[in-house]
């Protein structure tokens, strides 16, 4: 565990010294501020629009951070051969990989926390009250982001950052649209086609499980069972991706 923490600490330091991170933070902050402008132009409840755009920007810029930094993390170590000196030290390969994952997950936590506090403060200026539900939405955004981090690291083990980014972005978009398959399944007659689609839905990620933005924006109740099942789904998916990544990385031969 100690060695994982050492690698995680270095990964965190590497991420926070990466200029890309600050660029993304800047854009996330700007989008939250711009949501006020959008609210002025739109018809309807202005606070809801600010919340909608704000939460969406937390999710989108967090995802971009996970993908842009995550896909380069392991690849850079392999490409620049820093991994040679690390693997020559008393460290297991899975410790290296998990260290990278936890380092970036912690970076995501810090960034998301900062963005959420900023968003909450921005919201407070307009409503003069704190909305605890925003933190709940942010928590599930965080689970989605660490899942995306695990996916980005998995792809970066065996492909270039550009390809890994494309794969990870595909995972992100498929994950958010896969629920559409359920509608299709509901409209199809029973048979082979329906079974295939159902299997496909089970195989594909469903990132909408972590999307509580609508409920938070419209002050709808979120049942505890739904929260628990979403958290369990996320944690199992993350575990599955990490085990897969470790298995591939342990067999990786660095030529």
């Amino acid at each position: 565990m100690r060695r994982i923490l050492v690698i995680a600490g270095n990964t965190f330091r590497e991420a926070v010294r990466d200029r890309v991170l600050y660029l993304l933070l800047f854009f996330a902050g700007s989008t939250i501020i711009l949501s006020r402008l959008l609210a002025l132009l739109a018809v309807g409840d202005r606070v809801k629009i600010i919340m909608d755009v704000g939460l969406a920007s937390l999710s989108l810029f967090g995802a971009l951070t996970a993908i842009l930094i995550g896909t380069g993390l392991v690849y850079k170590e392999i490409d620049k051969k820093t991994i040679y000196t690390l693997l020559a030290k008393p460290i297991h390969r899975h410790e290296f990989l998990l260290g990278k994952f936890f380092g970036l997950a912690f970076t995501q936590l810090v960034i998301l926390l900062l963005m959420t506090i900023f968003f909450q403060a921005f919201l407070f200026i307009h409503t003069l009250k704190l909305n605890g539900q925003v933190f709940l939405a942010a928590l599930y955004i965080f689970i989605e982001l660490i899942l995306l981090t695990a996916v980005a690291i998995l792809f970066s083990i065996f492909s270039t950052p550009i390809l890994s980014s494309l794969f990870s972005l595909s995972f992100f978009f498929i994950g958010h649209f896969s629920r559409g398959l359920l509608t299709l399944i509901g409209k199809m007659p029973a048979g082979a086609g329906r079974t295939i689609l159902r299997s496909l839905y089970l195989l594909l990620p469903d990132l909408e499980n972590f999307n509580f933005k609508t409920e938070v924006v419209h002050h709808l109740p979120i049942p505890a069972s739904l929260q628990l099942s979403a958290a369990a789904y996320g944690l199992f998916y993350i575990l599955f991706i990490l085990v897969l990544a470790v298995l591939i990385f342990r067999r990786r031969d660095f030529q």
Binding site: E14, Y84, T85, L87, A88
Partner: protein, 305 residues
């Protein structure tokens, strides 16, 4: 002496790109390195030196064969706690300063904070980078990276140190300093495994060498056993004697200021040449008996079909 490193029948092949044809890089490599010696691992570019190191360090997996470090499997953490490694053309985390970088590697060996601080300062002093302790590695020159790379390899005070082309990127002063450090490590009882194709350095500091050509060990042993002390030829620099006369004794080259450089392969005829110079009232500027060098041996190995 006990062997700290033992390689037996090591084979390694790679598939270049997507072509399912494997290229064999190491072909049945076996060698032993004894405690306290400086072992030179010689070979031309592409011979398989770095591949051997990658297998030793667990970066690459051998196809077959066994490797043991201090009598333990090469991938055991206990063995790795006792080794240090400096890669060829090192590139390190450029977001860290030299001191942060060494501290990070010190943490991997579970060194306490005070001990890390002491070792980091000592190592930066040893490699001449005290002034650059707080400079980020992205601002380092190649030679400075080589120095900080050596420092990271020594952070755990290793019993066995692997150096892959350590002289690359260093200026003559740096090379001399590195040679001194290696000799100092030997004096402290540490073992050094030195991969290089710079024969001069190997010849100056190594106790034993192995010559690797096209993935095979062509020769291994003590330098004095490998290199014959027999005089190969005598080189004479002569002035005032005609070329036609000198050519009867061996190879003759025209030098500067009307001098000739004569290589006499038959040692019995050197005296005859000296008499000829005296008779012709010529001048002998130098006389140098040439014994076999590591370069002669190496070139002989490399040029063999």
């Amino acid at each position: 002496m006990a062997a700290v490193l033992k390689i037996e029948h090591l084979r390694k092949s790679y598939s270049p790109g997507f072509i399912p044809h494997k290229k064999e890089i190491l072909k049945d490599v076996s060698l032993e390195v004894e405690a306290g010696e400086i072992f030179g691992y010689l070979g031309p570019n592409g011979a398989g030196k770095t591949t051997t190191l990658k297998c030793l360090l667990g970066v690459s997996f051998p196809d077959s064969g066994t490797i043991s470090l201090f009598g333990q499997p090469y991938h055991s953490l206990k063995a790795k706690e006792r080794i240090g490694y400096l890669p060829e053309s090192p590139y390190f985390y450029d977001h860290l300063t030299a001191a942060e970088f060494l501290d990070f590697y010190g943490r991997l060996f579970a060194l306490g904070q005070a001990e890390r601080a002491e070792r980091v300062a000592g190592l930066l002093r040893l490699v001449g980078l005290e002034q650059a302790a707080d400079l980020r590695l992205r601002k380092f020159s190649r030679g400075m990276l080589q120095r900080v790379g050596l420092a990271q390899a020594l952070i755990n005070r290793p019993d066995l140190l692997f150096l892959d082309e350590p002289m690359g990127g260093l200026d003559p002063v740096g090379r001399k300093e590195l040679r001194d450090i290696i000799l100092q490590l030997k004096q402290e009882g540490r073992t050094v495994f030195l991969c290089s194709h710079i024969l001069q350095d190997i010849e100056m500091i190594c106790d034993r060498v192995a010559i690797l050509v096209a993935g095979r060990i062509m020769k291994a042993g003590r330098l004095r056993d490998l290199i014959s002390e027999k005089v190969l030829f005598t080189e004479l620099e002569i002035e005032g004697v005609g070329r036609a006369e000198l050519e009867k004794f061996g190879e003759c080259l025209t030098g500067r200021d009307g001098r000739f450089l004569l290589k006499v392969f038959d040692q019995g005829r050197v005296g005859v040449v000296l008499e000829l110079v005296r008779d012709r009232r010529g001048r002998l500027h130098s006389l140098l008996p040439r014994t076999q060098t590591l370069e002669d041996l190496f070139m002989g190995m490399v040029k063999q079909p």
